[in-house]
Amino acid sequence: MATVLRQVFVISGAIFVIVLLALGAGCRPATMGSVEGRVTFKGKPLGTGLVVFVGTDGHATLPAAVEPDGSFRIPKVPIGVMRVSFDNPPPPNLPAAAVKGVSEDPEITVLREQAKRFVATPARYKDPTSSGLSFEIIAGVNTCDLDLQ
């Protein structure tokens, strides 16, 4: 009988701890948000480039590619004030156009399209400490439009 009671006590204790942990996890404040927006240069959407958000501790988000319509999205960004880097390197040198009737390397086809959209932007936007771009991320979905001049 004493053994059974001890087992019941241990199992009840374990369940109590699990419930406490679950409640604790539920009450924990969010540490991440997401951000989406559009990059424009002198009012016109850009169709190339990369956006990175950099925290004051030096940690950075993964780079987000700017889509042909100028939009970008970063699914995980730490909450707080972040500096923003916009890198827009010129298109690479590409091989001559494919011979008629021969399928072209798909990646080169994509890069040719990107090259057509490329518009040079000031290099200062690449360095987050001099870009002048910053944004406070809060929990949930954030909208951050970047209008470069």
């Binding site: 990369l50 780079p63 890198d87 590409l94």
Partner: protein, 192 residues
């Protein structure tokens, strides 16, 4: 004329780039199939994949800001690696198929477009102290192209002194960049 794959500049049945090389494939890199193909690829005549890539900053000639001036770098450790060798990265993990074979990954013999997102090197296009690396991938579809990536919790690298180590995900992009440059005067320091 033999059938050619999209990603083969010189494709013939015996061409080396079409070979699977097991030593270039990490067993836990599920973005490559057993034939060495990128998992989204169905064209057996395309180049085969790898799980590792070279640091373009170490193997090319670069401008002061890290952009590539000449892919034929001709660097020598004794002459050009002024940041030292024990904290300078030569190779790192970079998964074989990053999202899809038409957009990114690592083809070990990709040679017709050096700036490719599929070439076996990194820090060639994404250069500077804001670009880090990606660890703990759950799927190749979560991958970000052109930067080192791994399914492991930490990134495996080979350093210029020949040693191998894991780099924790907590390392900042600025410290990582210091470990990629060979003569930046910016030794990666104790954080690396």
């Amino acid at each position: 004329m033999t059938a050619t794959g999209y990603y083969a500049a010189v494709a013939s049945p015996g061409w080396v780039g079409l070979k699977r090389i097991g030593a270039y494939m990490c067993p836990s890199d599920t973005s490559l199939n057993s034939e060495g193909m990128l998992v989204t690829d169905t064209n057996a005549n395309n180049l085969k994949g790898a799980s590792y890539a070279a640091n373009a900053q170490a193997f090319t000639k670069t401008n002061a800001n890290g952009t590539i001036a000449d892919y034929e770098g001709l660097n020598q450790i004794s002459r050009n690696f002024t940041d030292g060798t024990s904290k300078t990265v030569l190779f790192a993990e970079k998964i074989g198929c990053c999202v899809s074979h038409s957009s990114g990954g690592t083809m070990w013999a990709r040679n017709n477009l050096q700036s490719s997102a599929l070439s076996p090197h990194f820090a060639n296009q994404h250069v500077g102290p804001t670009y880090g690396f990606q660890t703990g991938l759950a799927s190749h579809t979560d991958c970000t192209q052109r930067i080192p990536s791994t399914f492991h919790a930490a990134l495996g690298v080979v350093l210029a002194d020949g040693s191998v180590r894991s780099v924790a995900s907590s390392v900042t992009p600025a410290v990582w960049w210091a470990a990629l440059t060979i003569a930046g005067g910016d030794g990666a320091g104790t954080e690396f």
